[in-house]
């Protein structure tokens, strides 16, 4: 159920080193249309190569940056007798404009045109859906380190401060130089706080932890 070469993202040359993604092209032929109909009927999900998805995501993000509205351009080509003809082109823009161009002469073959149109939209839907899923899955992976709840933060700080005070008093009694004493107390406070946090993290049940 691969989709290796029939989905392509056309790139335009912006400068000598830069090629920017521009139009998403589908190369359909008779066999592929048949396959797509089968996949649609059996509700199969299209396996999009990660390269295509990355380019697609890049296309959307670029669009977001440079224009006033995100505009995606999808074009379906049909191969008939060694000739690849652009049959349907959809331009979907975020500000609500949807422009469709359909080749006039394909009106003479209604079944074929309907087939291409259905396939065209089905693939677009698959691409948009997979983009959504991937980004929300990515979000779950990148959740921050579990952080302690507010009250536990307070607890760890107060404990460490308490211990620090005791250490400070001991140091005072042993009459070490003031600046050295200050450095030692500050260091101790920070380290104690970290140690207590670690202790709490490893020993508290997961339900207490906040994501």
């Amino acid at each position: 159920m691969g989709s290796d070469s029939w989905i392509q993202i056309e790139k335009i040359k912006v400068s000598r080193q830069q090629n920017l993604p521009d139009r998403v092209c589908f190369q359909f032929n008779e066999n592929l249309l048949r396959d797509i109909q089968l996949w649609r009927e059996t509700n199969r999900k299209l396996q999009l190569p990660s390269e295509i998805l990355t380019d697609f995501r890049y296309l959307i993000l670029l669009n977001k940056q440079k224009s006033f509205s995100v505009e995606l351009n999808f074009c379906s080509f049909y191969q008939q007798n060694e000739e690849k003809i652009a049959v349907i082109q959809s331009k979907i823009s975020l500000d609500g404009k949807i422009n469709q161009q359909i080749r006039h002469d394909y009106l003479q073959e209604p079944q074929l045109l309907q087939g291409i149109m259905t396939a065209h939209y089905w693939v677009i839907e698959q691409m948009l859906n997979q983009l959504k899923l991937k980004s929300s899955r990515k979000r779950k992976k990148q959740t921050p380190q579990p952080q302690l709840a507010q009250k536990h933060q307070v607890l760890s700080w107060s404990l460490s401060l308490g211990l620090t005070m005791i250490v400070a008093v001991i140091l005072l009694l042993t009459s070490i130089n003031l600046p050295i004493m200050l450095i030692i107390t500050v260091l101790f406070a920070v380290l104690a706080q970290v140690a207590i946090k670690r202790f709490l993290l490893s020993n508290l049940p997961n339900s207490v932890l906040q994501k």
């Binding site: 006033f68 500000d95 609500g96 949807i98 009106l107 980004s135």
Partner: protein, 227 residues
Amino acid sequence: MTDSLREVTALEINTAFVEEITTDQFIPWHVYQEIYLISRQQLQQVQIHPDLCDRYLQLRRQLELAYTLLLIDPHSELYDSQREAQARQNLTILSQSNSEWESLPTQLPDPIPDPANQTNTSIFNLLDNYHFLRTLCQLGTIKQGLDRQNHILNHKNNNHPTIYAQTKIQLDGKIFNRYSQNILTHPQQSQILKLHQNSILLGEKQWHSLLKVIFNFINKKRKSNLI
């Protein structure tokens, strides 16, 4: 980008049955030059149909007006205090469509900058300005429509004229349908209308999906900024 989302007042689905699929890319400098050069003589030279001349000229006036408004706006990066006085004078004339605006000397920068004569606002600064680009984009779309109409009027014996169907669904619930006249007599009328209905249903669904994808991106970015 959120500005453009705020401007979504309607969903507009256009289906066009064309001879050949074309990609219209918005190339700012190109559009700027074309509109900059519009004048009565130029329109005659390129043989624009006389019915459309006035509308082309309006594009030129709008371009000048947009620039003038940016010149006098202190919040704009194109603000120019030296030329503000002249700009304000021009403003009253420019804002009226049937005034003598054509005889006003232009304040717009030359599309092809003269290296010997550096003006304050170079063309590149202008084409970097978000507000000006937005106006330019809108004017470009109108010009494309005019060019198409011009082509149709000048080539009366067109074998396969483009057939258009448009449905506009507004946020306030109103739905507008517009069709080319040649659909009424077209042999495959029902098929055309059916395909347009398909475009509406599927286009709407996909616009919705696109919206969700963009919101996903924005949310993800927002969350990663909070960490």
